[in-house]
Symmetry: none
């Protein structure tokens, strides 16, 4: 099995100003093609440190992936360090990347400066994978077996997370093309509405009965629920995927509609799949979630086919004047109540003329009110067969509570529409 | 200066199942007392790996902080590895931690099992800092100068983030009591509306004139712009902070209102600072940003003081019926136009009665329309002194374009309100 090391370069991670999210993403991508990550490392923008550390990582691993230190400014010195490490003293221009640099900067109405153009220059010891999302290209340095006692390859990726993420598929393809890999098969199911521990308890007998060569992972996410992944190393693709499907089929009687997808997916995509092509439409009314539900729904390309829009009624006056929530309802039951959630859902459905609507009113924190603890949300759902409400209580900080509220609202909306479709 | 290394132990980080947030928190705490973090490392639950790597880190650093691998189950082997590394074959019971274990488990209604009690046993080569938030104590191993050529100390913290965070003040106090420390000072300015390269070009002469002991870093972020950070090691706190402030003061004539904060901050906070306590209110109308502007504004605790709400008018019909955009305006100029952006901003301002409003209409992708390329956004701004519009073009994928649009809208709103305040 090929081992890999992941190395982030940059003072901003080392001094704790930003949390490194690239390494875990890269690790998951490597793991999916059967490469074992043995170490992750973060080092600063210091030439000697970069050279010494990467030399050491290459000695112990067939693949080293670095991120960071490729910006146009002077504090970014990864490229020069990699030139030194690979024995290059000549830089050559990569025309494809230069074109990308021009088009990115021109699209932003910016002049192409010399420091921008310089980003298309790379050491003559590397191959280039163009970076279409940013100005710094991915550099690939292949070291012959003589150097470290085994063939080894270093991939230098930009540090900006979306650029690193964008470059990752090309990097993975390059690794696949150049490395003998053990086959590995993964399949996922997405489960919403259950905490990891509750899910684990519920499926314990199923988990205990898994064959010894299948490995189960729980991958929980605030917004998308728990991803359950089964993996098998080696074997025949069709046969192994059939065996995994068989196991997942046994989960359905246990989890029912809590399962919303049989591949890595999101709740907003699952909702898109329910609405698309049906002519049904959707709207939202948000208080505590402040726009996040709408933002998630519209993150799906083509959402305009079924999504009409939303009202964020942060102020009570907007709940009343725009959504038509009655002042009496607010006074009698409080803003955070099933009555207001229902009135908001019905109000936005009427306002936009949508088939379905979802609404939230709650307390993300800090601080609760006289009736509800912080972390309480009421979700309102309205559709052709009536209106219903459901409440949830979470115990996180403001940011996490808002995410949990939005995720719960999408999940309840999904179940609400499903119930009608299955009726 | 004392150097430090931070090491997370555990397969769950290495295979990318969870993102490591402990290391950045520990790093910030160390930086604050003038300890330079030279490396961060993540390794798996493998005894030999743990011993070899920590031995190496101790050789190069006066302080090594580890997190993880201290749980009660069999896959947690950090304690045994540390016993081996420090030459201990005897475990002794820490009575304080044993009491904590009893009280934690009893509070959860759980029996105290032998594997729980065993967590209070520690190698006789370490000192204990009790962990009041969890069952595994913090272990402190002090290695004499003879062993590594310099005195060095290893702190082993639990991996659960809130336990690691809870133990950190005691660890920092222990380090302060045992280590001669050099001070370090950082300060930041936040700059919006300029790409990293354009900013770099603009402040080049300023950057060139920085004293040799000041180090500048560019920390760009999709949503918050570029953070510029100056650092100085050593010296007197007041004097050095004054020197950094002096340098930042010289930036103001170059960058003007592009600077929106003199500490790590966000555009939505800067907007909160403009509105809070003034009685002025704010609303938003979103098309292409789909709710993200509203979501960002409401991520600020206490936003309800000035934020009334928003309308996401994803469908043209909602632009017309809820925001009052005239069908003729849409037909004549197209949905993505300054005219529609202005009408949306004026519409939501009228609907909610807010002092100011911001609106977006654009094409996040995939695909442009007959008049505009993908990545185009028109931002509408309305206030007591009139309405104005501005357009931007970005070249990212859908997700990033939406983020850029939202960030640009917040920045333009900030400048629009500032202009009135400065008038």
């Amino acid at each position: 099995m090929t081992n890999a090391s992941i190395c982030t370069i940059g003072d901003e991670i080392l001094i704790g100003q930003i949390v490194d999210t690239n390494s875990s993403r890269i690790s998951r991508a490597l793991e999916e093609i059967g490469i074992k990550v043995t170490r992750m490392l973060s080092i600063g923008d210091d030439s000697e440190e970069i050279i010494t550390n990467l030399d050491n990582e290459l000695r112990h691993n067939g693949i080293v992936v670095t991120t960071g230190g490729l910006g146009p400014t002077r504090d970014d010195i990864t490229k020069a360090a990699l030139a030194a490490l690979s024995g290059s003293s000549t830089y050559i221009q990569n025309d494809t990347q230069l074109e990308i640099i021009h088009s990115i900067l021109q699209a932003r109405g910016l002049d192409v400066l010399d420091i921008n153009k310089a980003q298309a220059l790379v050491p003559d010891t590397c191959e280039v994978i163009p970076n279409r999302l940013g100005t710094a290209p991915v550099m690939v340095f292949r070291f012959p077996e003589e150097r470290y006692g085994h063939p080894s390859t270093l991939y230098s990726l930009p540090g900006v997370p979306f650029e690193a993420e964008g470059a990752l598929p090309d990097v993975i393809n390059d690794i696949k093309a150049h490395t003998p890999l053990t086959d590995i098969f993964h399949k996922c199911v997405m489960v919403a509405g259950l905490a990891e521990s509750a899910l684990s308890k519920l499926i314990e007998p199923w988990e205990d009965s898994l064959p010894a060569d299948m490995r189960l992972a729980y991958l929980p996410n605030q917004l998308t629920g728990v991803r359950l992944r089964l993996s098998i190393y080696g074997g025949d693709k069709e046969e192994e995927e059939r065996r995994i499907d068989e196991r997942f089929a046994l989960l359905k009687p246990i989890l029912g509609d809590r399962i919303y997808a049989y591949s890595d997916d999101t709740l907003q995509n699952a909702i898109g799949a329910l609405f698309r092509g049906t002519g049904m439409t959707l709207s939202a009314a948000e208080s505590c979630t402040g726009g996040m539900i709408s933002s998630l729904i519209t993150s799906v390309p083509g959402a305009s086919e079924y999504y009409l829009g939303s009202v964020t009624s942060y102020a009570v006056a907007v709940k009343e004047s725009v959504l038509g929530v009655k002042p009496d309802t607010v006074n009698e039951y409080g803003v955070v109540s099933p009555e207001v959630a229902a009135a908001m859902a019905e109000g936005v459905r009427k306002l936009t003329g949508s088939t379905y609507s979802v609404a939230t009113t709650g307390l993300a924190g800090p601080g609760g009110d006289e009736r509800n603890p912080v972390g309480t949300v009421w979700i309102g759902l309205s559709g052709p067969n009536g209106t219903s409400t459901v409440s949830k209580v979470y115990k996180n900080d403001r940011k996490r509570n808002i995410e949990r509220f939005a995720s719960a609202a999408l999940d309840e909306l999904r179940l609400f529409v499903l119930k009608d479709l299955n009726a």
